[in-house]
C-alpha cells in the first residue's frame, strides 16, 4: 500500500472531521438557534449511532442473518451491561469476550 496516498487520505479525513467539530462552537458561542433546530439536532447522535450499529449486528455479506451471527448474540449482553453500568470498558470487554468465546466454542 502506498503510504503517501494513505497519509493524503488521513489529511483529508482530518479536515472533514475538524470542520463540523469547530464551526458550530466558533459560530454559535454568542448566538442562539431556533428551538426546532435544536430539537432536531438533539436526535442526531442517537439516530446516527443506531444507523451505524444495527446493520453491523444483523447483516452478513449484505443479507439479514441472525442465527449464525455472533455479533447479534454478543450485542444482547453488551446492551444490558451498557444500560445498567454505562461503562465503556465493561461493554467493550464483555462484547469482545462473548464474540471470542462464541468463536472458540461453537465455530
Amino acid at each position: 500500500m502506498d503510504q503517501t496516498i494513505v497519509f493524503m487520505t488521513i489529511a483529508g479525513m482530518c479536515a472533514v472531521t475538524y470542520v463540523p467539530r469547530a464551526l458550530p462552537m466558533l459560530a454559535l458561542a454568542s448566538r442562539s438557534m431556533p428551538a426546532i433546530v435544536i430539537r432536531w439536532l438533539s436526535f442526531i447522535p442517537t439516530a446516527v449511532l443506531s444507523a451505524l450499529l444495527l446493520p453491523s449486528l444483523v447483516l452478513q455479506e449484505g443479507a439479514v442473518s441472525v442465527s449464525h451471527n455472533e455479533f447479534f448474540w454478543a450485542a444482547i449482553p453488551a446492551f444490558v451491561l451498557a444500560v445498567l453500568t454505562r461503562s465503556f470498558f465493561g461493554t467493550v470487554a464483555l462484547g469482545m469476550a462473548v464474540v471470542a468465546g462464541t468463536r472458540f466454542f461453537l465455530m
Binding site: 494513505v6 497519509f7 487520505t9 488521513i10 483529508g12 479525513m13 482530518c14 472533514v16 472531521t17 475538524y18 463540523p20 467539530r21 469547530a22 464551526l23 458550530p24 462552537m25 466558533l26 454559535l28 458561542a29 454568542s30 438557534m33 426546532i36 430539537r39 432536531w40 439536532l41 436526535f43 442526531i44 447522535p45 442517537t46 439516530a47 446516527v48 449511532l49 443506531s50 444507523a51 451505524l52 450499529l53 446493520p55 453491523s56 449486528l57 444483523v58 449484505g62 454478543a74 450485542a75 453488551a78 446492551f79 451498557a82 444500560v83 454505562r86 461503562s87 465503556f88 470498558f89 461493554t91 467493550v92 470487554a93 462484547g95 469482545m96 462473548v98 464474540v99 471470542a100 472458540f104
Partner: protein
C-alpha cells in the same frame, strides 16, 4: 471558577473511565490498521490528526477493501457530522473563550470527551485548564493505545479469535446507551437502525447512514412536537 486551579491528578481522575474504554478500542484499531497495510507512522498520525474512533475503524475497513481515498474521506465526513451537535451544545459554555482556545478545544471533541465535558459543565465546573488537561490526556491515551496495537499487530496472526472486530459495535452500544435518554430516543434508534438495514439491503450503502439519520431525527422531532401540543 472559569480559570480556577486544577491539577493533573484531577484530570487523571476524570479521564480514567473514558481511558478504560479507549484502551481496547484503540488497540483494536492499531491492530486492524496494521493488518490493513498502514505503516506504524500513519496509524499514529491518524489517531493524532483524525482522533475519531468510529471513523478511523470504518476507514481501516475501507482501506482493507481497497476503496478509493475520496470515498473514505466522504464517509468520514458523514460519520463525523454528528459532532456538529456536540460542538453546538458546548458553545454556550465557551462564550468567554478566545477563538484559538475554542479552535484547540474542538479539535479534541469526541463522543467520549463530549460526555465528560457536558456532565462537568452542567454541574457548574467550567474550569478551562481542567477542560484542556482532560482533552490532552484522553488524546494521549487514544494515540498510545493505537500505537501499541500497531506494534502488536505483526505478532497477532488473526484478530477474529480475540473478538477485536467487535470493538467498534461494542463502543457504539455503550455510546447509544448513554445517548438514549428516554423512550422516544429508543424509538428513533430502532427506526434509524431499521431504515439503515433496509437501505443497505437495497444496495444503497453510500447513503444508508445519512438518510437513516435524517429520517430518524425528523421522526423524533415530529413525535415530540406532536405530543407536546
Amino acid at each position: 471558577m472559569e480559570n480556577g486551579t486544577s491539577t493533573w491528578s484531577e484530570a487523571f481522575r476524570r479521564v480514567a473511565p473514558l481511558a478504560m474504554g479507549y484502551l481496547p478500542v484503540g488497540v483494536a484499531f492499531g491492530v486492524l490498521a496494521q493488518k490493513a497495510g498502514l505503516s506504524d507512522l500513519n496509524v499514529v498520525l491518524m489517531s493524532l490528526l483524525v482522533y475519531a474512533g468510529s471513523a478511523q475503524l470504518i476507514a481501516v475497513g475501507m482501506f482493507a477493501a481497497g476503496m478509493p481515498p475520496l470515498t473514505i474521506v466522504v464517509t468520514t465526513f458523514v460519520v463525523n457530522l454528528r459532532h456538529l451537535l456536540m460542538s453546538a451544545a458546548l458553545a454556550p459554555y465557551a462564550k468567554s473563550w478566545r477563538l484559538r482556545e475554542m479552535a484547540a478545544f474542538s479539535f479534541e471533541l469526541t463522543d467520549e470527551t463530549f460526555a465528560v465535558h457536558s456532565t462537568r459543565f452542567n454541574d457548574g465546573d467550567v474550569r478551562k485548564p481542567l477542560s484542556f488537561r482532560i482533552n490532552m490526556l484522553a488524546h494521549c491515551v487514544w494515540t498510545l493505545a493505537s500505537w501499541g496495537g500497531a506494534l502488536a499487530g505483526s505478532t497477532i496472526p488473526d484478530v477474529k479469535p480475540l473478538g477485536m472486530d467487535f470493538a467498534l459495535p461494542a463502543m457504539f452500544i455503550a455510546l447509544l446507551a448513554m445517548q438514549a435518554k428516554n423512550g422516544l430516543h429508543w424509538l428513533v434508534a430502532g427506526f434509524s437502525g431499521l431504515v439503515a438495514v433496509v437501505l443497505m439491503q437495497a444496495g444503497l450503502d453510500q447513503w444508508s447512514v445519512i438518510a437513516a439519520t435524517v429520517l430518524g431525527a425528523t421522526l423524533g422531532t415530529g413525535v415530540e412536537t406532536w405530543t407536546r401540543r
